[in-house]
Amino acid sequence: MAIIVNLDVMMARRKISAGQLAAEIGITPANLSILKNNKAKAIRFSTLEALCKALDCQPADILEFQDDD
């Protein structure tokens, strides 16, 4: 997967659990798990915005590009 979602790191820094974060941004814990485990195929801007607000960070803090080649 070329785009890596580093949610665990930010969640640990902000000391917020998966359940709390999911409730805060309005998605189910299952969907948050899909995001955390890099199984998501796409993310909505609205979800990214909610994540950045909840974790007080920038998109670059959560998303990382890794070249597969």
């Binding site: 969907n31 899909i34 995001l35 195929k41 796409a42 909505r44």
Partner: protein
């Protein structure tokens, strides 16, 4: 929703009716063929055994087709439309149509009008394959949507 539900019920009814008709034909095959040959020219009456071979060779494929169509309808009725199992059922149906087309093709050697059934079966098989491809793409789109957070 009532319209879709009644459409599904009509389709299920047709599948069960075809199943019943196929069962009757399997058991009454010799009599049906005898009656058919009785109204035809005398010289093809000797082909009774060939007709029976064609009938009983194609019969299993008819039952397999009806089985998979029934499974497909049950999935759709249960709200499971774009799941991996459904293209699998359609694939089996298309191969059965192909098999019947081959049987009818071979049967043209002794009775030419079988060619019409062969072409029809092959055409239906091709249509089912196209529908199967559409289902597969729809499943990809659904998975894409499901995994968009």
């Amino acid at each position: 929703m009532d319209k879709e539900r009644s459409s599904l019920l009509i389709t299920k009814f047709c599948v069960y009716m075809f199943f019943a008709a196929a069962l009757v034909l399997v058991f009454a095959g010799p009599f049906v063929i005898q009656a058919f040959l009785a109204v035809r020219r005398a010289e093809i009456a000797v082909l009774k055994n060939f007709f029976l071979v064609s009938l009983y060779t194609a019969a299993p494929f008819a039952f397999i087709t009806l089985f998979h169509l029934n499974k497909l309808l049950l999935n759709i009725e249960g709200g499971q439309v774009f799941i991996r199992a459904n293209p699998h059922h359609l694939n089996r149906v298309s191969w059965c149509c192909g098999a019947v087309a081959v049987i009818c093709c071979v049967s043209t050697f002794y009775y030419t009008p079988f060619a019409i059934i062969a072409v029809a079966a092959a055409f239906v098989g091709m249509i089912v394959r196209v529908v199967k491809n559409v289902f597969e793409q729809a499943i990809l789109l659904r998975e894409e949507a499901d995994y968009t957070i």
